[in-house]
Amino acid sequence: MVVVGAGMVGHRFVDELVRGDVAGRFEIELVGAEEYEPYNRILLSEVLAGRADLRALGLPLPPQERVTFWRGVAADSIDPASRQVLLSDGSRRDYDHLVLATGARAFVPPLPGLESAPKHVHVLRTLDDTRNIAARAMNAKHAVVLGGGLLGLEAACGLRRRGVPVTVVDLDTHLMATQLDQAPARMLAAQLRSLGVDVVTGTSVVEVISAYDEIVAVRLTDERLLAADLMLVSCGIRAESALAADAGITVERGIVVDEDLRTSQDRVYAIGDCAQPPSGTTGLLAPGWRQAEQLVASFLGRDELDPSGVGDERPEPVKLKAAGVDLVTMGVRASQACDHDRVLSVSDGGARRHVDLVVRDGELVGVTVLGFPEVSAALTLAYDRRTPLPADPLALLVPGGSSGAVEETPSPMRMPGSTTVCRCTGVTKKQIVTAWEQGAATVDAVAGATRATTGCGGCKEVVCGLVDWLNASDPGTAAESDSGPVSTAVTERNIPVRTTT
């Protein structure tokens, strides 16, 4: 088994295969072009933002005794006829099965001014990219991020967090056009601006202007010039499919695979960002991981069980990972809802908060939450796990709808007599009142008579309050009072009176 690409998906595939193949049927070789140990690519934006230590990136190393790992070695070509892969170190590896997990690279549009490859124009895909951008950010005065998608915005926020003024430029009329409707996108732009990230939409960069090989500005469609000494191009990705194409394997937007992840070439499979399955490409991790699991299962002859047991897959939740912006979006957007769907939208401009929920046949099928972290995790879970919804979906918007209102400790006066005051010993207010009526005038005396407060002691305050209230309700003892002895009674105002004998 030869796996090409030690990225997020190739790594997962090998990990699953090693775990599942207890009998050691497969001899596994992993070929990865990057010099580094396998790392978590998703966290690069966090690293760029200075929010994650580099040490948090390292992924588990493939166990040496099971996997031969060719690190820093690229696969240069495939020879399907002899079932061999030619590596950049000149060696050839035989395969029975070849899994391509070559991922994707950032797409850089052919902009005038880029041909000369001026300095400080970057993409963000690898650890090296991240390091270079972070290094430049130390001296940069103004950065331009081309592309207002998920990655571009994460990077923009990250640069801003490093103190660099940033402008995001996007050709679409609004940010994250693939995932968001107009309204939440506008709110998002407002939130970004409040963080110091400028947003320019409906326009693009037509020219990159440089001096002495270094970028100094960009010209926009509307002729505006933006000073820039750091530029990040984040205009989507292109599948890394040349290796496959050169071997005569069918490639369209990615390496074309069928439902079982087989390419057009016998014994060659593709998974992750480089693959183009019938359901289309996403550029997200979760589908790639599922493909890795599915392929391992089929190699091991296991029936692919649907682990969630809920049937049809749903589009992945997408979460913007940036400090200061809490945005999650998944499934059907409000603008895509059908007539019979229930659509709930809250647009709270002052708080820069926006929520769209789409409920179809009693199921939550679409969620967009911006600026409302108290509910976003719960909503993601309800969408993902299809847990039962409240009869009125409006309730989903109440934070702590899951945790419920905190019950206040009722004031001693207003609580009903049947209220349990001491949970540990099951003593009610009525019992305490009775004890007081029978002469227990201090907390200790009440404790002696009823056992209240003798467990965890948590009710001491309340018992104290009760005793104080009782004592206050009976200023001076009844013996001294003018009205003379009264019988034990609970008056209309619920104030008990002590019997004197």
Binding site: R55, P60, R423, G426, G455
Partner: protein
């Protein structure tokens, strides 16, 4: 507590109970404690041996007849089916002396490998994880009163405010400091302790989806690494395996964890920050991570505890002042019960039964040939699964498996298939009522002995009154049975002598009691206490790990783990999770507490706690009967509607038999390492009872 033999309001004519200043309870007693006297004189207390007659009823008989009948049947079963055809099921409520003697009886007289105990349902996952990480398993490796001085406590799946109310007093300091973090899918009484308190800020309640505790812990460790909060010096000097563990949490970044657990990212970050700030390596007062059944009773329970321990180690906590990982137990002697031989794979002193040196030592104390000792048995759930098959007869001591074991309906079916069921109990528990022979035994105030609490502290139990009728201690019963079965092995019946023998058997083992005796314990100063390991002349060990861990290299072993999904997970036809637990006024299967009027008045029957959203969806009103159904069975109980539970989760207490028996619904899938069943989560559907249509049940003839 202090006992006075006297007629007392709650206790009939047994003893009266009063609290006593003691470091563990700080003088607190809960309702169960106050009313415990009445269990001694429960109206239906069994006071004479009972044997099932030809008509199928239990009828009184003499000890001689009961014991000889047992001996005869055991002999013939073993002659026909071999020694392992007898099973023994012990309890975490037995004294150390009884637990020890039961293990010895099983290994030397019955010579069957089939012994295990209900403590398997209690601390087994934590025990397995602690052994793996630290090389030793003591619930808390520090003193309980160390809690008072610590800066942060992460409490996982433990409702101590209900199960051990006096414990809450130890949390006062940490609550004032705003350092209490409770993880529970319900806003339990314990979770409510995180509300701001008069004296301070309270803390944080994380309310994850059931079954996602491990993910939560991995996410916290990820944050600790990402934020550079690890104690690298400690990790390098005192642990192995850190590199793999660090890598293994790389994939649990905050937004992924938030989406899996339902816990907002912000709360994850605050938790990690609180724990780190309280860590001694960062100048804090100390931080503790404590786990309970909620996080342990899962098929990945051992790994979940391992994740908790890894987090503690990454922060450099174990062995540092007022810091570390600990497990909370809710069973009187869950700790001691497993140290002395009730566990399928252990001999006294926490020795492993497959270790030749351990076998030789213990066999020496018992005066038998090491080779005559049986090997490893199987954990509780698997043992119950063998009933009626490989195991034809079962002795039950201090357990009510019919109510307390998962998939209880199947357990009943299997118990009914036994050739012989012997139950030692003091009340006619549901399991006793099914027995062929019921032997009346003594209970707490009627006997001498010792218990080992969650801190590994050995406590004396003292006799205040005589047992009623013909009730006898298990120590005598086991000695008599040994004789009746023709064994030459000596069995003491005097608790202090049994303890002395236990101490010798444990000498040199992990749980070494050889420096202790009843006399030493009786002389103890309660503020000091005797904590094992207590080798001869040592005076005990209140705190472990200050210098080294119990593995041969002295280091803690970190093991990378990954979360497993609940074995019985949500589906379209079972879209809600059931979690089970205890209520304050009842205990375990309720065999004791359900016999106390005052407790039943507070907690009369089973109930189903559910969120108003879920209730409305199913047109359930407060107080309606609700049917909770899994693939294994249905339980029906009153609805209690409350906003304090997640809308995707229902809760049932497991103290009651009959219609409301939660364990008819729970899953008996077990953790592959510890054998712990997955009590704490399974997928169910719910319906108002009058609308509930039972699935077609196939009747097997």
């Amino acid at each position: 507590m202090t006992l006075t033999p006297s007629p007392a309001p709650d206790a009939g004519e047994g003893v009266s109970v009063a609290p006593r200043a003691f470091p563990t309870s700080k003088g607190g007693l809960c309702h169960k404690g106050w009313t415990s006297g009445s269990v001694l004189r429960a109206p239906d207390r069994i006071t004479e041996p009972l044997v099932r007659n030809a008509a199928g009823d239990l009828e009184p008989t003499t000890w001689e007849h009961a014991l000889s009948m047992i001996a005869g049947t055991v002999r013939s079963i073993q002659a026909e089916h071999g020694r392992d055809a007898i099973g023994v099921f012990g309890g975490g409520g037995l004294t150390n002396e009884k637990a020890y003697q039961l293990g010895k009886f099983t290994r030397t007289v019955l010579r069957t490998k089939h012994i295990d105990y209900n403590g398997r349902f209690c601390m087994s996952s934590a025990a397995a994880a602690s052994n793996r990480a630290f090389g030793i398993d003591r619930g808390m490796p520090f003193r309980l009163d160390d809690l008072a001085g610590t800066g942060a406590v992460l409490l996982l799946g433990s409702n101590v405010a209900d199960t051990m109310p006096p414990f809450v007093q130890h949390l006062a300091g940490v609550r004032e400091r705003g350092g209490l973090i409770v993880v529970d899918p319900r806003r339990s009484a314990t979770a409510a302790l995180t509300d701001p308190v008069a004296a301070g800020e309270g803390g944080l309640h994380l309310q994850p989806l059931p079954g996602t505790d491990q993910t939560l812990l991995l996410g916290l460790l990820h944050l600790v690494v990402a934020d550079g909060l690890t104690d690298e010096e400690y990790l390098a000097a005192r642990t192995t395996g850190w590199d793999e563990v660090r890598r293994s949490v790389s994939l649990w970044w905050p937004s992924r964890v938030a989406a899996t657990t339902g816990v907002p990212e912000e709360q994850l970050r605050r938790t990690a920050a609180l724990l780190a700030a309280a860590s001694p390596s960062r100048g804090g007062r100390g931080a503790m991570i404590l786990s309970g059944r909620g996080s342990e009773q899962h098929t990945d329970g051992t790994d979940t505890v391992t994740a908790a321990i890894n987090l503690a180690l990454a922060l450099g906590l174990p062995g540092r002042p007022a810091s570390g990982y600990g497990c909370l137990t809710g069973q009187g002697n869950g700790q001691g019960g497993r140290e002395h031989g009730q566990k399928a794979d252990q001999l006294p002193g926490y020795r492993m039964i497959d270790d030749p040196a351990a076998r030789a030592h213990v066999a020496g104390v018992w005066g038998v040939d090491p080779d005559s000792l049986p090997g490893k048995g199987v954990p509780a759930v698997q043992l119950l699964g063998k009933l009626g098959g490989e195991v034809k007869a079962l002795f039950v001591h201090g357990a009510n498996v019919l109510v307390s074991a998962p998939d209880a309906t199947a357990v009943r079916r299997r118990l009914e298939q036994l050739d012989l069921l012997v139950v030692c109990d003091f009340v006619p528990s549901e399991t006793a009522l099914l027995a062929d022979v019921v032997l009346p035994v003594t209970q707490w105030a009627e006997e001498e002995g010792t218990m080992t609490n969650l801190e590994g502290r050995v406590l004396r139990r003292r006799k205040a009154i005589d047992p009623p009728g013909q009730a006898r201690s298990e120590l005598e019963i086991l000695a008599d049975l040994a004789r009746a079965l023709g064994s030459q092995v000596h069995f003491d019946t005097e608790p202090s002598l049994v303890f002395d023998e236990l101490a010798r058997a444990s000498a040199g083992g992990k749980a070494d009691y050889s420096g202790l005796s009843h006399a030493v314990l009786d002389a103890e100063d309660s503020t000091r206490g005797h904590y094992w390991p207590a080798p001869a002349g040592s005076g005990g060990t209140p705190r472990l790990f200050a210098r080294r861990f119990a593995h041969p290299d002295g280091r803690a072993r970190m093991v990378a783990v990954s979360p497993g999904a609940p074995e019985d997970d949500l589906r379209r036809d079972a879209p809600v999770y059931l979690v089970t637990g205890r209520v304050l006024a009842q205990y375990q299967s309720g065999a004791q507490t359900r016999r106390v009027e005052a407790l039943n008045a507070v907690a009369p029957a089973a109930f189903v706690e559910l969120h108003p959203h879920l209730a409305r969806l199913h047109q359930i009103d407060d107080g309606d009967d609700v049917a909770v159904t899994s693939v294994r069975g249905t339980a029906i109980a009153r609805a209690r509607i409350t906003g304090t539970i997640r809308p995707d989760t229902v809760f049932m207490p497991f103290h009651w038999p009959g219609d409301g028996m939660a364990n008819a619904v729970t899953n008996d899938a077990t953790d592959p390492v510890s054998g712990m069943p997955e009590f704490k989560v399974c997928a169910v559907s719910i319906a108002r009872a009058d609308l509930f249509v039972p699935a077609q049940v196939e009747v097997l003839v």
